[in-house]
Amino acid sequence: MNNVNTAILDSDTGWLILAGFSVIWIWLGWFWGRKARQLDDFMLAGRNVGMALGVATAMATWVTSNTTMAAPQLALQLGIWGMLGYSLGSVGLMLFAPLAKRIHTLMPTGYTSGDFIRLRYGITAWRVFLVISLFYGIGWLISLGMAGGVLIHALTGIDYRLGMSIILAICVTYTLLGGLRAVIGTDFIQTIIILVGIVALAWLAIDKVGFEAMHASVLEERPELLNLLMPAAIMFLFNNLLFGVGEIFHSNVWWSRAFAFRQGVGFKAYLVAGIFWMPIPIVAGFVALATPALGLNIPAADMVGPMVAAKLLGVGGAILVFIVVFSALASSLDSLLAATSDLVLQDIYRGHLRPGASKEQLRKVARWVILLLGIVTWLLCLPRMTTLAALLHFTGAFVASTIWPIVAGLYLRKASSNGATLAMLSGTIMGLWSYFAIGFYVAALVSAVVSMLVVLIYMAIRPDDFEWKSLNEAVEEKSS
């Protein structure tokens, strides 16, 4: 992307927008975080989040820069199925709805997804899970940090390192000041901005180009994009579906929200968020089909969205896209920072280094963990090690291996510790093998299938008989 000039805004305007939003998000982080003195207030927004903020935070976190930038790119490369396949990412959110309810019921005082694996499967499975989860969390953080730098550079010409440093610094600062409350509060505003922005852009494309002209020109120049039987796109669809489910089921980003939502909110919030998320890749993506009709020459496929916007709306369109992309980046980056730092704090610091740490001590350490995580991410983002897409596909092999151990662990007494550990290890190994031997588009699929088989076989030959009340640490502490 660096090799071609794709800047649709001048850097002065870029700086102005960055400065304006930095002030707003940081002030809001401070404002919402000033009363968060207890650990539960900071880590889990007081465990009392209502429906509106619950739906918005699930939506905003799942709308990343990938959704807003890669949806048009996929439409340009894989056509109709590219958009539809991407929109199936919402299935993970909807399937997580009953899990969120179950998690809240079984673990009303839980903090992280690591807590669940530790209490349900024991130390070995917990450590394997932590490696997978932290690898994924840090991988996603790096990919988002890099995406921030790359996109800011591509849209405004601002240097990659400067752009990346600024977006990371903003997100670290307001997450550090306000914890999950700041993350969820800003997510609500960011969701509204993203939705209004992509609707405005889609409406303009329909108004200025129209479906007939769009269809006719694509049919003439790239008819395969309108073909419902495009094989590569169908493979993408299934892999993307499983990857999304794996990402959501295991990641502490979604578990921390299940713990943070008020009683009775989790199921409805995730279901509604999934329904509202589903059309976003279609609305954001179909504008790419206007490129032949607009006579646009696209130098880099991942810049198709902004370039169509700039062509349709001029400077206004470019500013709109920049704000939408910036909001999408921040809404995911802050959530991931908060959730990964919770995992480091609860499962590494408290779980391994300071088992006797009090909640007050943990509250103090929480901010340092966020800062440390921000610095580590920044350092790893500096050299731009790999492409965003490659890194994310690579993690698919890891996360898909956790789907069945988590689902079986939440619902089936028979699911055993050894079965879960082996399922995660063998699923990851086979997923990685298929990634290199076959291709990225089968890594998650192979990993999930192998993991499922191991969990099922172990349940059949060595069944456990788990006591559900062992998951509620508050009850366990009282009785012991």
Partner: protein
């Protein structure tokens, strides 16, 4: 199996309709939670 422009327009308009409804529903839910003091 090439889709028609009619199929394309119905698919996109349906998606657009839900996406337009989303911020409206979110703001209504926000006011409902806010009135009951149940935002967070």
């Amino acid at each position: 199996m090439i889709v028609s422009s009619g199929f394309l327009s119905v698919m996109v308009m349906l998606a657009l309709l839900i996406t337009v409804a989303a911020p409206i529903v979110l703001i209504v839910l926000w006011f409902m939670d806010w009135k009951k003091g149940r935002l967070w």
